[in-house]
């Protein structure tokens, strides 16, 4: 494994911001860190980059212990949420700064920057300042800066959260081409689960500074290990119903069907989503979200059912998956 985190934690004023983080990311693998804000995903990234000191555990890159090295000694390339481009320097100068302090001679600097800017298709904007670029172009400059280091590990901190939805979709294949083709371990932090599923082979869900589950997007959706993961992954949110003897039955909205018997309910409201419709149905168990095809009619007497294998059982006290 190229990047390994062993029981990594960060402690500020006797409070653990993140705790017991264990991760391994292989070459050519993109791992996404997702979770609600304040769950510690950005902190984890900063620990790997060396921007914050590690309080516990160890971090290895290709077997080399980097736990206490400074950021510049770690060989990580990082793309920041705000892009962190210097406003008073041109694109070229922004990229040149790192090379210059590393003592790369001038002709070589120019050659390297030209190569990278060609790759991100921004060589014609080399003499522009960041303020003169669009959001997508700035993001590519930030990416170019990370690529220029030719690092062992790529760290992307919400790289697309400042872009609008359409642009995000356009840039995703571009980002895959540029970063994932480097065949280096990549960690992608995002709060957007769709983005995580689109970019990453595996996803780690963080909750209150701990990893709840690391798995493939498929498994996270279909086999969540905890109620938190079940609720966090998947939109519209999973339905949670009271089961017997302190258990919670969770059913995905698209698994709910109309039938002749079962839970009776009343239509509260509906949302058209284009290729589907989302129904909010009021029942004794609270509001149930049901996802169905747009031409599905609503029966006069609403009764809801689902297949037993679509139901996931959780322990109400621990929030963990309980197997039948």
């Amino acid at each position: 494994m190229t990047l390994e985190l062993e029981n990594v934690g960060r402690n500020i004023n006797k409070q653990w911001i993140v705790e017991n983080i264990c991760l391994t990311v292989a070459d050519n693998e993109c791992l996404a860190l997702v979770g609600p804000s304040g769950c510690g995903k950005s902190t984890t990234l900063r620990l790997i980059a060396g921007l914050d000191p590690v309080s516990a555990g160890s971090i290895h890159i290709r077997g080399r212990d980097i736990t206490s090295l400074s950021p510049s000694e770690r060989s990580v390339g990082m793309v920041f949420q705000s892009y962190a481009l210097l406003p008073h320097l041109t694109v070229f100068e922004n990229l040149e700064l790192g090379l210059r302090v590393r003592g790369v001679p001038k002709p070589e600097r120019r050659f390297k920057i030209k190569g990278i800017l060609d790759l991100v298709q921004l060589w014609n904007r080399a003499d522009n300042r960041p303020a003169e670029l669009s959001g997508g172009q700035r993001q590519r400059v930030a990416l170019a800066r990370a690529l220029l280091r030719d690092p062992e590990v790529y760290l992307l901190d919400e790289p697309m959260s400042n872009l609008d939805a359409q642009l995000r979709e356009d840039i995703r294949p571009e980002l895959r081409r540029l970063v994932l083709e480097q065949r280096k371990p990549t960690i992608y932090v995002t709060h957007d689960q769709h983005e995580a599923m689109a970019m990453a082979q595996r996803i780690a869900v963080l909750h209150e500074g701990r990893i709840e589950q690391i798995d493939t997007p498929y498994n996270l959706y279909h086999n969540p290990e905890s109620l938190f993961v079940a609720r966090f992954i998947g939109r519209p949110q999973i339905n949670c119903l009271k089961g017997d003897s302190g258990s919670i039955r969770a059913v995905r909205p698209e698994s709910i069907r109309f039938s002749d018997e079962g839970l009776s309910g009343k239509l509260q409201s509906r949302e058209w989503l284009g290729n589907s419709q989302l129904l909010f149905l009021e029942t004794q168990q609270g509001v149930i979200r049901m996802m169905t095809s747009p031409d599905q009619g609503i029966p006069a007497q609403i009764r809801l059912t689902w297949r037993a294998e679509d139901e996931i059982l959780f322990d109400a006290d621990t929030g963990l998956r309980s197997r039948r």
């Binding site: 900063r46 980059a49 060396g50 921007l51 400074s70 950021p71 510049s72 990580v76 390339g77 990082m78 920041f80 949420q81 705000s82 892009y83 962190a84 481009l85 210097l86 406003p87 008073h88 320097l89 700064l97 790192g98 302090v101 590393r102 300042r129 960041p130 303020a131 959001g135 700035r138 993001q139 800066r145 280091r149 400042n162 872009l163």
Partner: protein, 271 residues
């Protein structure tokens, strides 16, 4: 809209009228000053300027003294205040708040009360009659205000700019050279002007530490002109001296106006 315009006009009159009056006085003959409405054959004159500039030592000497003291104290202030405020902006919330509280206390403390103690120190160190010695207490007295102003500027910088530079391998000195100083230069300029102004206008310390007439600073020299005769107040020369004394300040503000006004950080963060 109309109310704002009126307000701006009122403010302009409020602040410019005394200056205009001073300018007018400096070009008037003594006769014209006491009988402003009489028709005189000679109303305008350059005599006051001539007498001020040709005094012994020439007035330009005081101007240079003040420029030297102002420049040196501004330099010393920034030399200490920039690193201090950088560290203060990186400190934990609580400890930085305590330090800021003390700094505000120091800034509000009337420095005239320190005066006797300072005088004793100066005497002990034999710093009388030295312009360099004048710059040291000025820099010390300006420190709290300068640190507070610059700390705010440092805190306003997006932290990711420095994080990115650390990943790129820039040392603290390199980060100062390439990132921090260029980006807070507007704040440095405005702080420098405030410090320079304080030193330019300072009177009590300059009055007591300097007795050698070749080393006086502007405020003391002007006061000497005003009090040069027991029988009359030489309004004309005094006004001329004030006008000459304020020209460097006006130039300074005009030069630094651009960095003060321009927001250099625009485009740094948002997409």
């Amino acid at each position: 809209m109309k109310a704002t315009r009126f307000l701006i006009l009122a403010l302009l009159v409020w602040s410019l009228a005394p200056l205009t009056w001073q300018l007018y006085t400096s070009f008037c003959t003594d006769q014209a000053l006491v009988t402003p409405f009489a028709s005189l054959n000679q109303r305008w004159t350059l005599d006051h300027y001539q007498s001020v500039l040709n005094s012994n030592p020439p007035f330009i000497r005081y101007l240079l003294n003040s420029l030297f003291v102002g420049g040196l104290s501004t330099f010393l202030t920034l030399l200490l205040a920039i690193p201090s405020s950088y560290s203060l902006s990186k400190m934990g919330r609580r400890s930085s708040l305590v330090i800021k509280f003390f700094l505000i206390g120091c800034a509000l403390f009337p420095y005239v009360l320190l005066f006797l103690a300072l005088l004793e120190i100066a005497r002990y160190l034999q710093l009388g009659n030295s312009l360099i010695a004048l710059a040291v207490p000025y820099a010390a007295l300006s420190q709290p205000l300068a640190i507070l102003l610059l700390t705010n500027a440092f805190s306003d910088l997006p932290a990711e700019l420095e994080d990115a530079a650390r990943v790129e391998g820039l040392s603290v000195v390199q980060r100062f050279r390439w990132i921090l100083l260029p980006l807070i230069s507007p704040a440095i300029a405005s702080t420098a002007i405030l410090v320079f102004l304080f030193s330019w206008n300072e009177y009590p310390i300059a009055l007591t530490w300097i007795s050698d007439s070749g080393k006086l600073t502007l405020p003391v020299a002007m006061a000497r002109i005003a009090g040069s005769s027991i029988h009359s107040v030489p309004y004309g020369p005094y006004a001329a001296a004030t006008v000459i004394g304020s020209i460097p300040l006006i130039l300074l503000v005009m030069v630094f106006q651009k960095p003060i006004v321009s927001g250099l950080t625009t485009g740094a963060v948002k997409g």
